[in-house]
Amino acid sequence: MTIHDLLAVLPEAIVTLVAIVVLVIDAGVGERRARPWLPWVTIVGLAIALASQSWAPAGGTFFGGFVVVDDFSRFFRLLFIVLAAFTVLVAPPYLRREEVSAGEFYATVLFSTIGAMTIALATDLITLFVGIELMSIPVYVLAGLQRRDRYANEASLKYFLLGAFSTAILLYGFAWLFGISGSTDLAKIAAAVRTAGLGSPAVVVALALVTTGLGFKAAVVPFHQWTPDAYEGAPTPSTAFMSVAPKAAAFAAILRVMATALGPIQLDWALVFAILAVITMTTGNIVALVQTNVKRMLAYSSIAHTGYILAAVAATAAGASAGAAVLFYVFAYGIMNLGAFACLELLDLEGTRGATLDELNGLWSRHAAGATAFTIFLVNLTGIPPTVGFLAKFLVFQPVIDAGFTWLAVAIALNAAAAAFYYLRVVVHMFMYDAEAAAPKVEPARVLSWSLGIASIATIVLGILPDPIYSFAVRAAGPILTK
């Protein structure tokens, strides 16, 4: 280990440091006095972490081949830091109201972020697995942060038990991969898999185990059932974070493992992934249609979005454009989905379970900016131009068709059309129905409102001017998917 190696992971190190500083301030200064400015400490720390990349080495492998810094890892660093910052900005009103410890929340989010960033750095199964665990365990904690809420307890416990179960499956799959190749290095595994081919039963078992394990993290049907329960029961700020960062990290892991280590047998898993994509998006959308709880509806919607992203993964045969589509979608999804959940934080609701459709009635007349921002995020999730949500779906089509999955493209289009119904139904409730007497109080939260406003405008600006992010995604997909 040289100073060079340490500099290469400087952003991760700084995020770790920030998390510790937040905990120390929280403990030292006291909850009450630290609360107002802890978010800002976190934000500044995250900004420094992002900026510190310019002092780090330009790229290459470090720690004896365990870590790689390339455009792919840089893309995800940017994404995870943005998502963590957005989470921290929108959380305070909820945390204050529900008396959740702010320091613990921010630190846990940061710890999970470090894990997610580590996944993107991995060229080795060990690093990858450490990253996955480092990301997942804090998320289980986030789900149960509201200790006295029984739904939060249920969410946390279910998420943890099933997470442990699937992690075991994933680890077992990694063990088989090691058995096949005698190495944990992704490139060496790829070489071994190429020689062995799918004819080897070991490869079949490893492939199935890895697909299941990673599919769980990304909430692919039929490994998705934890999602609605965990999302619904967790405190809303936790849900907002849980629904985006771990999913993005899961897709980073999927790209690293499936496209690199299992790339040689890409033909064998691509069709399975395409079928899983259709099942996932269709199940997510159909069940979302019959939900009356908006938080739960958004949980199913996030499953549907997993399906769309998985479709681009299945199309990796099309080359870098597929990888770029995955990355761009993950980025767009991160902002729009986090924003949609965060809009629910505007409402003062009992417990963790989010708003029902009726509780959103007439939100337009009570909090016009919030209702507008929510509408913009929902329009994004629907995929209507000129939003980034539209562009993300649009960019998935090209590689999917290029890879020969025309039927998959048709399925995406049909699903997107059906999904419009339940997204826009929320808009109808907010704008066209009158608020009932028992309507929940609206939070007077300035930073929250501004953050939502800026993020919702950003989704439109990115929909019209996608270039900085899209060309970054194209570059980032390069090292993973070169034809």
């Binding site: 179960f165 499956i169 799918l198 080897s200 490869v203 079949v204 609605p228 064998d268 159909i286 019959v290």
Partner: protein, 641 residues
């Protein structure tokens, strides 16, 4: 210090857009009448920059620079940039549009002063200018289409500005539908262009035109005709002209800016911009020339009998736009752009002058006016000069440009079109004289109205005077000597397919002869007008009785509106009804059934979500088993990919 003004070209549309956003966001609550000042200042800045760019292009000679803002669409082989093409043609248009827009914005401060919707007005008007400049500066057909649709939208909003009244509302709808038909043509043209040339950027398309014309002449003709259909919608040519006179229901500054000086010339701009395409498009060019000439004559005859001052001007605009298309059609696009520029000044001035009259009298019917020249001297003199320009009296602006068009028809071997042009000139001079006499001369016919009339405030008269400078001198400055003036040297090579090797001097004897004929025709028109309306010999009423059926025909505008309303709209309504029934019963029926099925399925799937961790784990395990079976099936060849 050397500033690259051309590089700043995006500011020209950018500043009006910023004004529109500010006024749109804060106008209703805080800014109110300040919106007018903000919009006018923004347009002033934009105009200064627009003129600076014009002079920069003049100084640089024949430049054609693309200023790319960003790549808009890049999907596979399909690349479209948001980029401005700065060349002599677009620079001319930018200068005309920004200067005229600025003056009209200033004028509107006075005209709209007491309107409660002033903030709406000053949101949409700068937004319109932004979109018009986008249209003009676009370096490809797609971005141009964005501007094209955008100006149509603003036009719709501004025609229906007083949406509480039924007439503006109906007029706005009519404009919308007629423009849709034209826009459909534009869309078809754009798609065909992409399919044929693989690009939508002017710089990629035009060099390939000649080659493609060899192999696929029909395709080129069809593309040109599709674009021309778009142009007839936007520029109110036959058969899609009848929305423009109705559009006069909008506020008068809107009529001046959108429905006279700028938006309606977009069709001419499109044809002029696509000259390389039209030049090889076989019969398409002749279609353009004939439609232009016929529209010019047709609209001028209707203008003869109109009594609403704005409607006279509206039909006159349709007629003048016809001249511009005639110019394009006989291979004189420079003359078309020249006339476009001079027309922008004198027609904007005529509209603003009529606006000044309407503001003073709250009346649009010329039969109730008369004698107003004593009350409104500035309005009268500027109106008179602009009318002279419209009637093509030398040396006013309209003379030089219109004369070139009519002359070009003759020298390019279309004597019949030349005769139509000269005849229309006579009618133009007549209805202009009639309009001026009825409005400003003679005895006041409505004393109440006359007594309350007053000259407009300086915020309105100063723009009139400034526009008047353009209406008087633009022709001389741009177009003297004829056929070889500044505008010819400037636009040569940009608008014409290739720089025509004009080594020989123009035939001045022929030009002078043609010009003299046209002037004489104009003078005859004025003389008849003067005799009928100043001397009452012959009396106008007697004349209209003498030519009874013709008068009825003209008075009812050839019954075209009735035809459109009754026959076509009825057919349309039947079609809409059928479409609605199909939608309501077949499509919705299927969708309802589908929704019912889906919700059934959803409820079923929802039941799978038991909430019991063991069940979830079981489903994960089952999924894993299925995966092993499927992958194993591939491996052993039982399943096929």
């Amino acid at each position: 210090m050397n500033i690259d003004v051309v590089g700043l070209v995006w500011l020209v549309p950018g500043i009006p857009l910023a004004a529109a956003i500010v006024n749109g966001l804060f106008g209703r609550r805080w800014l109110h009448r300040a919106t007018g000042v903000i919009a006018s200042v923004a347009l002033g800045l934009s105009a200064v920059l627009g003129v600076a760019i014009f002079f920069a292009v003049v100084a640089a000679g024949h430049v054609a620079r693309t200023v790319t803002l960003y790549e808009w669409i890049g999907a596979g082989d399909f690349h479209v940039n948001v980029a401005a093409l700065v060349d002599p043609l677009s620079a001319t248009m930018v200068a005309v549009v920004t200067v005229v827009s600025f003056l009209i914005h200033v004028f509107s401060n006075g005209y709209m002063e007491h309107d409660p919707g002033i903030h709406r007005f000053f949101t949409w008007l700068p937004l319109f200018v932004f979109l018009m400049l986008t249209l003009v500066l676009a370096d490809n057909y797609l971005l141009m289409f964005v501007g094209w649709e955008g100006v149509g939208l603003c036009s719709y909003l501004l025609i229906g500005f007083w949406f509480e009244r039924p007439a503006p509302y109906t007029a706005a709808n009519k404009a919308f539908w007629m423009n849709r038909i034209g826009d459909w043509g534009f869309t078809i043209g754009t798609i065909l262009t992409f399919l044929t040339f693989g690009s939508l950027t002017f710089h990629d398309v035009f060099p390939k035109v000649a080659g493609v014309a060899q192999t696929q002449p029909l395709t080129i003709t069809f593309i040109a005709l599709a674009f021309f259909l778009g142009a007839t919608g936007k520029s109110a040519q036959l058969p899609l002209y009848s929305w423009l006179p109705d559009a006069m229901e909008g506020p008068t500054p809107v009529s001046a800016l959108i429905h006279a000086a700028t938006m309606v010339t977009a069709g001419v701009y499109l044809v002029a911009r696509s000259t390389p395409l039209f030049a090889v498009a076989g019969p398409a060019l002749l279609v353009v020339a004939i439609i232009g000439a016929v529209t010019a004559l047709f609209a001028a005859t209707i203008a003869l009998v109109q009594v609403d001052i704005k409607r006279v001007l509206a039909y006159s605009t349709v007629s003048q736009l016809g001249y511009m298309f005639l110019a394009c059609g006989v291979g004189a696009p420079i003359a078309a752009v020249f006339h476009l520029a001079t027309h922008a000044f004198f027609k904007a001035l005529l509209f603003l002058g009529s606006g000044s009259v309407i503001h003073a009298t709250e009346e649009q019917d010329m039969r109730r006016m008369g004698g107003l020249r004593r009350k409104m001297p500035i309005t009268y003199w500027t109106f008179l000069l602009a009318g002279g320009a419209l009637a093509a009296i030398p040396p006013l602006a309209g003379f030089w440009s219109k004369d070139e068009i009519v002359g070009a028809a003759f020298t390019n071997g279309q004597p019949i079109l030349w005769a139509v042009g000269v005849g229309t000139g006579l009618l133009t001079a007549f209805y202009t004289t009639r309009m001026i006499y009825l409005t400003f001369h003679g005895e006041p016919r409505d004393h109440h109205l006359y007594d309350h009339a007053h000259e407009s405030p300086a915020v309105m008269t100063v723009p009139l005077l400034l526009l008047c400078v353009g209406a008087v001198f633009a022709g001389l400055v741009l177009g003297f000597p004829p056929e070889a003036g500044f505008i010819h040297r400037f636009l040569e090579g940009t608008v014409t397919a290739e720089a025509a090797a004009q080594s020989e001097l123009p035939n001045y004897v022929l030009i002078a002869g043609l010009a003299a004929t046209a002037v004489v025709a104009g003078l005859i028109g004025i003389a008849i007008g003067y005799a009928m309306y100043a001397r009452r010999r012959p009396d106008p009423a007697a004349v209209s009785r003498a030519v009874g059926p013709i008068y009825t025909l003209l008075w009812n505008k050839y019954f075209v509106d009735e035809l459109y309303d009754h026959r076509i709209l009825e057919g349309g309504r039947a079609l809409f009804g059928a479409a609605w029934a199909f939608d309501a019963h077949i499509i919705d029926g299927i969708v309802d059934r589908l929704a019912w099925l889906v919700s059934l399925l959803g409820s079923g799937l929802r039941r799978v979500q038991t909430g019991i961790v063991g069940n979830y784990a079981l489903s994960i395990a089952a999924g894993l088993l299925i995966l092993i079976v499927v992958y194993g099936g591939y491996a052993t060849g039982v399943l096929h990919r």
